[in-house]
Amino acid sequence: MGEILVRDVSKVWGIDTPEEVLTLDRVNLTVRPGEFLVIIGPSGCGKSTLLNMMAGLDTPTSGLVLHNGQTVVGPSPERSMIFQQPSLLPWQSLIDNVAFGLTLKGMGRRERYQRAQEFLSQVGLQGFARKYPHQLSGGMQQRASIARALCLGTDILLMDEPFAALDVQTRFKMQEFLLDIWKGSGKTVVFVTHHIDEAIFLADRVVILTSRPGRILDTVDIDMSRPRDVASSSFDHHRSLFIDHLRSEVTKAFEQQELVEMFDTSIK
């Protein structure tokens, strides 16, 4: 139930071109069923690529990703993904958006609306079923995206910096909200972020990636009880540990930036 194995996964971009870049280098990772795992690392370290490979939107250059023992070969409704940018379809009402996965499955209108309505209530948007995405705030749109993912009843949620585009207050509310939903649901969450406090606030376990090429630098268990107090001393302790870990990596990433930019312009 909800287990993902990443075995010796490497990813090379721009393969067979002079600008070949190794993004991920032999990453091994086990996502345990029901855990809240956060992947953190400097920008460009390949953390989103890793998540995309778990979702099946990207393929490893070498190595394997397994979901419940089966090799991931493509996207599947068994693994829901929530993106950084609001990804609700602008031409559908909120309830149609939330029920979209069920529509694709061919479920009847009444049944899927009933189900979608339940999940809309769960994310606190019960009164907005007939609204359209552009009529909602960014936070509401992300909550609806989460409802859409939950609607399919999958046991894995893959989240790619889902709150990065939100303002600080909304972001904090959304983190609490996400924990509420996750708590006792038995779902596995893999959450990518570059925000240290967010990682410590949410995670059971944090995986730190190095700057390019991405390797696993360390895995840290956060054994604090929830809800976590961002001002507590144990939170501070974790925070300084992560800052120490990431500082050198960020410096390295910064030095690489020139190289990265060169690469980016040459593929356009």
Binding site: S87, P90, W91, H134
Partner: protein, 298 residues
């Protein structure tokens, strides 16, 4: 000294009535906006007509060639005697039945747009979804697109003779190539995020097309169609002038041949009015049916 803030004002914000007032205000504002626009339209037209009329009144222009508006608009009353359904879109001696001429032209334009849109849309989808088909057809379509629809008129007449078909063909040609290219281009530009969303929710290739690609490109295609409508309108009139012999274009042409200048100007006025009305209708459809595009584009 500090200014006192009246407490009641902060204490009891009557939100409901405030919202109501705001809504009413905005409605008044839109009404005002449209009123102002209409006012300037009338003012502009009046100025133009007044100058023309006074030039004619003081004999500064030759009214045999440039009859003032009241004369050629008066020509409408002469239309009455020809208002007979039996006549269809045919000519009666040196004169024409304007209403049937309009309906003949409109029929052609809409038939052409209808077939052109469907053909271009399917062709664009096909070219995007089946690589080989796209690679074989798109270069030729790209080369054919710059040939103006008017240049196809001689061929159309040779192919279809006189009647509705060559005119419909011209409109079809006028929008088909550019709309096919636009379809392919729009499909290429559909936000990958939406496609990925469909994929992780379990959509098949066909479902991605039906639920994501098609609704995503329709608004942009509609804009392209609206722009191309003017080209289609112009080319069908040209076709009617040179070979088709019925419709608004032929009405103007025959009026010139008969030296019925008033009828010629009446025809030109109708061409302008009908074209303008259709464009306004297009704009309305665009705003109502495809409202979400306007909301997300900005």
């Amino acid at each position: 000294m500090k200014t006192q803030i009246p407490l009641a004002a902060i204490d009891q914000p009557d939100l409901h009535s405030q919202a109501k007032r705001r809504r009413k205000n905005s409605r008044v504002k839109t009404l005002k906006h449209y009123g102002e626009k209409l006012g300037w339209l009338v003012a502009s037209l009046t100025t133009f007509v007044l100058i023309w009329e006074s030039l004619a009144f003081f004999n500064l222009i030759d009214t045999a060639i440039l009859p003032p508006p009241h004369q050629f608009l008066g020509e409408v009353t002469n239309q009455e005697q020809f208002f007979d359904r039996q006549l269809g879109a045919t000519r009666v001696g040196g004169n024409f039945v304007a209403l049937t001429a309009i309906s003949a032209t409109l029929k052609r334009v809409f038939a052409g747009i209808f077939f052109g849109f469907i053909a271009a849309f399917s062709c664009g989808l096909f070219a995007s979804y089946f690589r080989l088909f796209g690679k074989l057809t798109l270069p030729t379509i790209t080369l054919l697109a710059p040939i103006s629809a008017t240049a196809w008129i001689p061929l159309a007449i040779l192919l279809f003779g006189v009647g509705d078909s060559p005119a419909i063909f011209i409109v079809f040609i006028g929008i088909f190539f550019s709309l096919t290219l636009a379809t392919v281009d729009c499909i290429k530009n559909v936000d990958q995020l939406y496609i990925n969303t469909g994929l992780v929710l379990g959509a098949s290739r066909w479902q991605i097309m039906r639920f994501i690609v098609v609704p995503a490109i329709i608004p942009s295609l509609f804009v392209v169609l609206r722009i191309n409508f003017f080209a289609a309108w112009a080319s069908v009139l040209a076709a009617e002038m040179v070979g088709v012999n019925t419709g608004l274009g032929a009405m103007v042409m025959v009026a010139r041949q008969m030296f019925n200048v008033k009828l010629m100007f009446l025809g030109m006025t109708l061409i302008g009015l009908v074209g303008y009305t259709i464009d306004v209708c297009f704009a309305q459809v665009q705003n109502r049916v495809l409202w979400w595009k306007a909301a997300t584009k900005i």
